[in-house]
Amino acid sequence: MSRLPPQPGERIDRSRAVTFSFDGRCVRGLEGDTIASALFASGQRVFSRSFKYHRPRGLLCCAGQCPNCLVAVDGAPGVRACTEPAREGMRVEHLNARPSLKWDALRVTDLLGGRLMPAGFYYKTFLRPRRLWPLYERVLRRAAGLGLAPASQDGRRRRADYRRRHADVLVVGGGPAGLCAALRARVLGADVVLVDEGAEPGGHLLVEGRSEQARSLAAEAHEAGVEILAPAAALGFFDGLVAVWHGDTLHQIRAAQHVAATGAIEQPLVFAGNDLPGVMLSSGARRLAALYALRPGHTAAVATATDQGLEAAVALLDVGVRIAAVADLRPAPDGRALRRLEAEGIPVLRGATVVCAEGRNAVRSATLARVDGDGRALEGSEIEVPCDLLVVSGGLSPATALLAQAGAKPAYEQAAGAFMSQGPLPAGVHAAGAVTGLHDDEAIELSGRVAGAEAAHAVGLGDAVSHARLERDATRLAELRPATPAGAVPPASAVSGKSKGKCFACLCEDVTTEEIRQSVEEGFDSIELSKRYTTVTMGPCQGRMCQLPAVRVMARETGLELAEVGTTTARPPWSAVPLGVLAGRPLQPAKRSSIHHRHRELGANVLWAGGWRRPYDYGDPRAEVMAVHEAAGVIDVSPLGKLLVRGPEAGAFLDRLYPNRLSTLGPGRIRYGILGSDAGRIMDDGTVCRLDEDAFYVTTTSSGAGAVDEWFSWWLADWCMDVQVTDVTEALSAVNLAGPRAREVLDGLTALECSNEAFGYLDARQGHVAGVPCLILRIGFVGELGYEIHFPSAFGQHMWDVLLQAGADAGIRPFGLEPQRLLRLQKLHVIVGQDTDSESNPYEAAMPWIVKLDKEDDFIGRWALEQASERELATGLVGFQTSDGVVPTEGAAVLVDGAPAGRVTSSRFSPKLGHVIGIAWVPAELARDGAGITIADNGHRLSATVTTKPFYDPDGTRLRS
């Protein structure tokens, strides 16, 4: 199909072709075309198949407002063909039709649909027999929906970036009001961003053949320094943050002031066959002609409620479309467009509208009739008009969704026949243009300038001159505000005896007026309920095309006024957006020790542990355990939390935080500590080392480091003691060198005296190891002689290499978390969070010795622990061993008289001991050496014997040797 002669302001560049494929067919378009305009030019009229009934659908709005032209581009579904620019070589495919868009087998649902798919059919049908549900589900999933997401990651090529933008003023909507607002605010010195969902800003000017005016306004704004994002959809208003989808970027715009210039959406009319290809909104038809030089049809019928339809009829007449007849809902329309049409001899029916469109895959005729207030055709007034284009215009509905999300209250305004924002707008939010109900050119531009000036003034810009001008503009704007509504209010639906076929209130979800009537009959008689039941307004158009029609049908069926029916809550996203855009870049924060790359090189199995990537083992956990027992092992314990607590009151501060005494610790000595809450519950554990009179070095669990730092600083903020807490977790790497030969390995690397006499158990020493300044703690989580070496993390690789090299002769092996867990289990060392939970206190956890209730001063948890110490214990944490070699699952139940009375928290087979060991919570009366317990695990019953002493080296002689 050829194009019209050059149109003023057209978007296409006739000298440059763009070629792409549609369902395998080659399509030639022009630079500046959208996918839809290029396809339309090539003769395509059916663009999609509908969601439920698989009815053919064609271009309706041509502005990204409706679901009718959704296609897949290069495998990504859900692209609106009418706004997506045609690009060379792109692969465009239809959605939701098999085997082809033209012959869709599932069209059968349209014919049977009435019975098979009543309102809320998914609650009523396909329920029995129940065992067939998986089959039904598979079939339904294939039948419904709007395309398939790529099944594999490889199929997804989208790169999605977030971009944060701070601004003084954000203007949403690039029509004349938005452009004027942005320009005014910018001229007054504001940092302004303007977003528009169209391919270029201009709003209704583009439709009306006034593209040049739109472009010069946009150019002026751009040159003044307004950042213009287009095509960019504002997705929602989140506490002042506006998310804007723009190509491959999700802009997160945080502006001090917001101007909503979101315009108004032309509404469709509701009648039988209103979804046929060939039924087009007046703005859609004009857009095709004005921007893409396409003739939307040969012979048109027009049905309108406002001047908009009449103006469209004139515009179409001017591009050679034959206008067969016009139905105007108003009893007495007037104006230039009307006079022109009548001068051309075109019949214009007053008080009339379209009651029916017919045709199988496209409009072939429209029936126009005069109607009463409820939309019923007056007897004998019907005329059938053969046509291939039916232009409809149901008036404008202000696009208040974003305003409503920002806190404005849209309510039905009788005179305008639409929902409008009522009352004052939320602080920092302004509105301009058609969204406020204006339709006069001068008023629209003026409202933009007023909003722009108000926004700029609100951020402290402007001067006496600008304030005076704002006052003048505001006064003039008030004079221009229309006193009379622009048009007639369409009925919920228009019907006559001739009407047959489905009458859609919602195109996205294929919801007919009949289904809404049914839902009311079944008791879903509020719009919010009906919405959830029929899914009306829940489709890709987000209510743009169906909100008002659905409310009108609801009002008719319930007998309520529209104001009483109200509207559904406006929720983001206001435009359909790919999930990948919301997800952003697929990078997840991970902490890694300075030795991590060495672990990788050694073939470590790496896992997540409290935000860190850590070696689980190096391939042979059993050998790693045995190396620690028999020679030496080294484990990277850099993730241990490490805090410096300094100041004259440091000791007193720790005494207040820990249930035991730390102020009495001598310099160079170490004490174990558990941290509790004021409820007496165990939160974390670790060691405390006194460096000198005023400085302590505190270690925490790896996963608890952040929480302990925050806990310390929280109490410090309140107590205001002369103490400084510094988190040095990441400043220091740490390795635990453990095993009977650990001393000889260390001895070769340092000038420090390492003998047991000079450097005993629970001593801390400072000195150089392999040339690196270190703090060395002699502690033994794993139960063998061990040194925890802490040093600046920049030397991780150096220290690791040196230790493995120096220990080679001694048979040193690196060991991972899994061997460490077994080794500590042999010593009955609890892991806070694994063996204890948020309810455990030190008495139950078998650590009564750590609570010093005789401390003079207050400490965290004192009262709760005092009360706990006076109560009899209900449960106890104990070790257990089994003899039959079965390792119970961690979490398995401990049974007493057949009923659960405890649980296993840790369990492993110990190669060193030759049997299964574990830790469990048991009733207090069983928390004694030698008690027998029964463990129920996945249907098995295991017998186990309780022990309260470490399984390995119970007296700690190896640890202290």
Binding site: H166, D191, T726, E730, A731, P773, P792
Partner: protein, 217 residues
């Protein structure tokens, strides 16, 4: 006892061992083909094989550089004992950046060789290895940061010397505008590999490049 075990500059050759301080970003740089030299006890990436392209990126787009070797001292004490600076506004003085975090806490950034002397004078904890540092400089530097952080780094909000603690790439960080379009981002060194990946991922499509210390004027 002292806090010597926090100071990388106190490492020294001993018993045949020659400890070399390495940035937590070194493994990533090595994979990218960086050429290293020892400077002030640190292994430093000099360039990534194409010094001319690196210079061009810094001039026309954005250059990303590992600056972990910078000395970083945390000075704490009553507000009266610290240089009087308003939180958020750092100053460059005596070859070091003095960055007030709170009224009682300040971060001092200095060349590695100056650390020992400053540590003597100040009640400081050496956090040189606790914080990783990445330089992001060039006309697109702010665009890179906008992809990673919600901080308002517009010149009117964050002028030269602006110091902004806040999240970058979803981890706690501090951003210093050293001047013009030169930013320094500081964050926990255990996140170095992750943040470096995120910064490079953001800078790449904007024409950015990783540059060696040779380009980092």
């Amino acid at each position: 006892m002292s806090l010597d075990f926090l100071s990388p500059d106190l490492a020294r050759p001993d018993r045949g061992f020659e400890p070399l301080a390495r940035s937590p970003i070194e493994p990533s740089l090595r994979r990218a083909g960086a050429r290293f030299e020892v400077r002030d006890g640190w292994s430093v990436a000099i360039d990534l094989g194409d010094a001319a392209a690196e210079q061009e990126a810094a001039r026309s787009s954005v250059a990303v550089a590992d600056r972990c070797a910078l000395g970083k001292l945390e000075v704490t004490g009553p507000a009266s004992s610290l240089p009087e600076l308003a939180p958020g506004a750092a100053v460059h003085r005596e070859g070091a950046w003095w960055c007030p975090v709170t009224a009682e806490r300040m971060l001092v950034l200095c060349p590695p060789v100056a650390t020992a002397e400053l540590r003597e004078r100040l009640p400081a904890v050496d956090l040189t290895t606790g914080l990783a540092a990445v330089g992001i400089a060039g006309p697109r530097a702010r665009d890179v940061l906008a992809r990673l952080s919600a901080l308002d780094l517009r010149p009117q909000s964050t002028p030269e010397g602006g110091f902004r603690p806040g999240s970058v790439a979803r981890v706690p960080a501090m951003v210093l505008r050293e001047g013009g379009d030169r930013f320094l981002v500081l964050f926990g060194s255990a996140y170095a590999q992750y943040v470096w990946t995120a910064v490079c991922d953001a800078a790449g499509p904007l024409g950015g490049r990783v540059v060696g210390a040779g380009q980092d004027a």
